[in-house]
């Protein structure tokens, strides 16, 4: 009996609460929402006013396939823009399905943390939102439709995802960006894309100093950057080595496994960056299925020769890349994290790591081995 009474009581409480609740609208019924999929942020063209922001959003429509709504406005901030969009649109604009946020070069060079901060703070936005820098005008890129491809927002996501899988570019989303932004031993990186006539293409990697975009790694070099950046296992990479013996050599490495090891050496007291030696050892293993060059890979001696050449190539090129980054006082490789782990807390806190970067001594060694050359003998 008692049970019964309690049940009744609960039911009463529930229904009364339910009745009271009707009125408040937190409902987000899917077909009444406009889900922002992609946001592009940039300064308005031709204006020098840095308080204004040009925002474009892309909202996919379920029908017809690949259709979408593109809205553009000029506002003070991303949030304000959203309010303006909601006014224009017949649906409520929500950002829970945001997948990509793009920054134009101009804005990125000015610093993007402000905008990232709003996005990270918003509980409706997840942390796996791609962060991409557009080489050029982000708004224009998002507004365009690329006929052969799915709707632009989806196109960008697919592009970023597939390229990431083939390790052309490092992972970059709200989480990694803010993680590296906050960390004092590493700088964030994002992919860089640009529009060409018919399509979008990846245009290398954008390196940030804190939250400002300062340096670009060209697409040809992004493989080398990846060797330095992290361990990875991937399908295929092409190593286009410079002319040697009067001939351009190209090696297609398949099933590459690359492993980097960073070792930091420094005396007890550190007076400057010169005192710190950074040893980076790269271990690269791959299968050679395609090779253009004079060497005869059936011979193991020639295989060894090729390995040697590749090693020399990797060491030289990475060294150049690192020097370029040092010049810009950049540490996207997370050398700082390793340096930090090699010293005492107080010592690390005393250092001005950013200023020391240009003086660091880098030793890069590579160990390239050909696992096999495939099924053919000759």
């Amino acid at each position: 009996m008692n049970e019964m009474r309690v049940c009744c009581l609960l039911l009463l409480a529930l229904t009364s609460a339910a009745l009271l609740l009707t009125g408040c609208r937190d409902e987000k019924i899917i077909e009444r929402m406009g889900f922002t999929r992609t946001v592009a942020l940039d300064f308005p063209e031709g204006e020098e006013d840095k308080t204004k922001l040009k925002v474009t959003i892309s909202i996919p429509k379920s029908e017809p396939v690949n259709a979408r709504i593109v809205l553009t406005t000029i506002a003070q901030s991303n949030k304000e823009a959203r309010i303006m969009f909601s006014r224009q649109n017949n649906r409520q604009i929500v950002s829970g399905q945001l997948r990509t946020v793009m920054f134009g070069t101009k804005l990125a060079k000015d610093g993007i943390w402000k905008h990232i901060d709003t996005l990270v703070r918003d509980p409706s936005i997840g942390s796996k939102v791609n962060v991409v820098v557009v080489n050029g005008n982000a708004n224009a890129l998002l507004q365009r439709t690329y006929k052969q491809f799915p709707s632009t927002g989806e196109y960008i996501e697919d592009l970023v995802r597939t390229e990431r899988a083939s390790t052309e570019i490092p992972i970059s989303n709200l989480h990694t960006f803010s993680r590296d932004y906050f960390d004092d031993g590493i700088d964030p990186v994002t992919p860089l894309i640009k529009e060409s006539k018919e399509a979008l293409s990846l245009d290398g990697i954008a390196l940030f100093r804190d939250d400002t975009y300062v340096m670009r790694v060209e697409p040809q070099k992004s493989l080398l950057f990846n060797f330095l950046h992290k361990n990875f296992v991937t399908g295929e990479v092409v190593m286009a080595m410079p002319v040697q013996d009067g001939e351009q050599q190209r090696v297609m490495l398949s099933f590459v496994a690359s492993n980097r090891k960073i070792k930091i050496r420094h005396p007890k007291t550190i007076r400057g960056g010169k005192d710190i030696t950074v040893n980076i050892h790269l271990k690269i293993r791959g299968e050679v299925l395609e090779y253009h060059g004079k060497l005869n890979l059936q011979k193991s001696s020639d295989q060894r020769e090729l390995e040697k050449r590749m090693k020399a190539y990797v060491e030289k090129e990475t060294k150049l890349l690192v020097e370029k980054m040092q010049k810009q006082r950049l540490d996207p490789l997370g050398i700082g994290q390793h340096a930090r782990n090699s010293m005492r807390y107080a010592q690390w806190k005393k250092l001005d790591w950013r200023e020391m970067i240009p003086d660091l001594k880098f030793n890069i060694t590579a160990d390239v081995k050909i696992k096999d050359i495939g099924k053919l003998q000759t």
């Binding site: 049970e3 339910a18 987000k28 019924i29 899917i30 077909e31 379920s62 399905q97």
Partner: protein, 554 residues
């Protein structure tokens, strides 16, 4: 109804006890114990309300007091004549008076020796009657008749009540001089053993219990040849006096549970019991719970396994189902099939059923919650399809879901009420046509149809029909909650169910066993079906004095 009763079976029959109840009903007929005449019957019929249960309690006292006088009134004749026994001597007249207005009561006398037999014509086996009574007693002398009555098949009836019952259960009462004997001539009534319709298995025995308790007990005995298998008979139902048999295996079943079951059965004061599923609701610990609390099955093999596991089993005459007690929630998700398959398959089946349970309870509700509140949880590709399918639907997901769920329930119920062939047609026509049309008319989204249909299908994976019905029912409040408060509401609903479940006891033991109280050994035979070598112990819930069931050393 009382008309009928009084007409046929002589309301007075069982009058005494109920006599007392009569007191309550109609004090008038104080005419003395013998009052019961057809008029009385008539009266009863007129006034005769279903007997008053409380009255029964006080019956004996009242009975004595008023000399059972009030007896007649009990149109509803609650039989339990105990009280009256000492008052009315067991004589032919009294007996016939009990059965006045009973056209199917016959008596046959043998003038040669003064032996008279009284019986209900349609309850007994005529052939047997001829062989055991008519043939031997025809034309024999007094003396011979006396000898014949000493055979073991003739059992002395000492009280009127005794005799009345014997007749009601299909015996003949034989009077010889001032003595009365009972002779069991019961005829088997009802269908013969055949496969159960509700719990079919692919592999395994195909016989099922039937409405006849004699057949059922025979089935049981055939499977369980043990003298430790005890069968205790009780009569339940104030009017129907349904025979209920409590069976258990001595030494394996916990006597505490046996005692509790018997006690509860005895304390039932309900006019009629027709079915085991009905009986269950009169004896369970939590009558207001929406979950069934005792496993009820029509399968003899299942019942045997319950008995050997140390549970107490209750048979009800007239019902093809047997009750096993105590039961746990997860027992409803097991089927005898599990043991007839390889253990891997059995395990997969059990897990499948639990998945089915989760889908049934939560799928539609989750759909409602996500489409109403948590759009961000839907992967993008799926979201576009969902939006597309919902774009023409005029109502919010909550109403959409309730509408479809109700439709499915309608279809199911209609199918169940109709003959198999029509039922199937209804299912197909209703399911496909309505579903298709509803989507095209923009009434519902096709994704919802998938959700609703799959949760309906999943609910039928649960072997116990009663449990699956309960689970289908609790979906509705969950859908409702999900529609108002999204995931929060859904979790509130689930929390409510969990709290409710953990409060349920089953003959005082925990319904949630073996999760709470936790017993990991039992998990081997609950969520998965371990290989037989690992099933070494009887379930902890039954608190068997003989815990080990598997003595093989691997």
């Amino acid at each position: 109804m009382s008309d009928a009763t009084s007409g046929n079976s002589g309301p007075n029959t069982d009058s005494e006890q109920f006599g007392s109840s009569t007191d309550n009903n109609g004090p008038a007929p104080d005419s003395g114990q013998h009052a019961p005449t057809s008029e009385d019957g008539g009266t009863t019929a007129a006034t005769g309300q279903p007997q008053n249960i409380d009255a029964a309690q006080t019956a004996s006292a009242a009975g004595t007091g008023s000399a059972g006088g009030s007896a007649p009134s009990d149109g509803n004749g609650n039989a339990g004549a105990q009280a009256a026994a000492p008052l009315k001597p067991l004589t032919m007249e009294n007996l016939l008076r009990e059965f006045n207005n009973t056209m199917d009561l016959k008596y046959r006398d043998f003038p040669a020796n003064g032996v008279t037999a009284v019986y209900l014509q349609y309850m007994i086996d005529a052939d047997q009657l001829y062989r055991t009574l008519v043939l031997p007693f025809s034309g024999v002398t007094d003396e011979m008749a006396g000898k014949l009555l000493e055979q073991a098949i003739f059992e002395r009836a000492n009280t009127l009540e005794d005799a009345v019952y014997a007749i009601l259960y299909g015996s003949a009462v034989v009077f010889s001089g001032d003595r009365a004997y009972k002779l069991d001539l019961t005829r088997s009534i009802g269908r013969s053993i055949e496969q159960t319709e509700t719990e079919t298995v692919i592999a395994g025995p195909h016989d099922g219990f039937v409405e006849n308790i004699v057949e059922n007990l025979a089935l049981l005995r055939k499977r369980l040849r043990s003298s430790h298998l005890k069968t205790v008979s009780l009569a339940v139902g104030e009017v129907t006096k349904t025979q209920v048999v409590v069976t258990y295996i001595e030494g394996i079943a916990n006597q505490e549970f046996v005692g509790k079951v018997t006690e509860r059965l005895k304390s039932i004061e309900f006019d009629a019991i027709y079915e085991a599923n009905m009986l269950v609701q009169l004896i369970d610990d939590n009558p207001n719970s929406f979950f069934p609390q005792f496993v009820v099955t029509e399968r003899p093999d299942a019942i045997c396994s319950k008995l050997t596991a140390g549970r107490v089993v209750i048979f009800v005459d007239g019902s093809p189902s047997a009750v096993s007690a105590p039961s746990s929630f997860f027992e409803f998700f097991t089927s005898p099939d599990d043991y007839y398959q390889r253990w891997h398959v059995g395990t997969a089946l059990r897990l499948l059923r639990i998945v089915g349970f989760i889908i049934t309870v939560g799928f539609t509700a989750f759909y409602v919650s996500v489409t109403t509140f948590h759009y961000e949880m839907i992967p993008h590709k799926m979201l576009l399809n969902l939006t597309k399918s919902r774009s023409n639907v005029p109502f919010p997901p909550l109403y959409e879901a309730l509408l479809m769920e109700t439709t499915i329930e309608l279809l199911r119920e209609a199918g169940a009420r109709l003959p198999t062939k029509i039922g199937q047609t209804i299912g197909i026509v209703g399911g496909i046509v309505i579903g298709q049309a509803a989507v095209q008319a923009g009434f519902t989204s096709n994704v919802l149809i998938i959700a609703v249909a799959s949760s309906a299908i999943a609910s039928f994976v649960i072997p116990s029909y009663v449990m699956s019905a309960s689970i289908r029912l609790i979906r509705f409040p969950l859908i409702f909650l999900a529609g108002i408060w999204g995931n929060f509401g859904l979790m509130v609903g689930i929390a409510f169910i969990v709290i409710h479940l953990s409060g349920i006891t089953n003959l005082g033991s925990s319904y949630m066993s073996p999760i709470a109280p936790m017993n990991l050994k039992d998990w081997l035979d609950t969520f998965i079906r371990g290989p037989f070598s690992s099933l070494r112990y009887r379930p902890s819930q039954v608190k068997s004095p003989n815990k080990q069931k598997n003595k093989m050393r691997k």
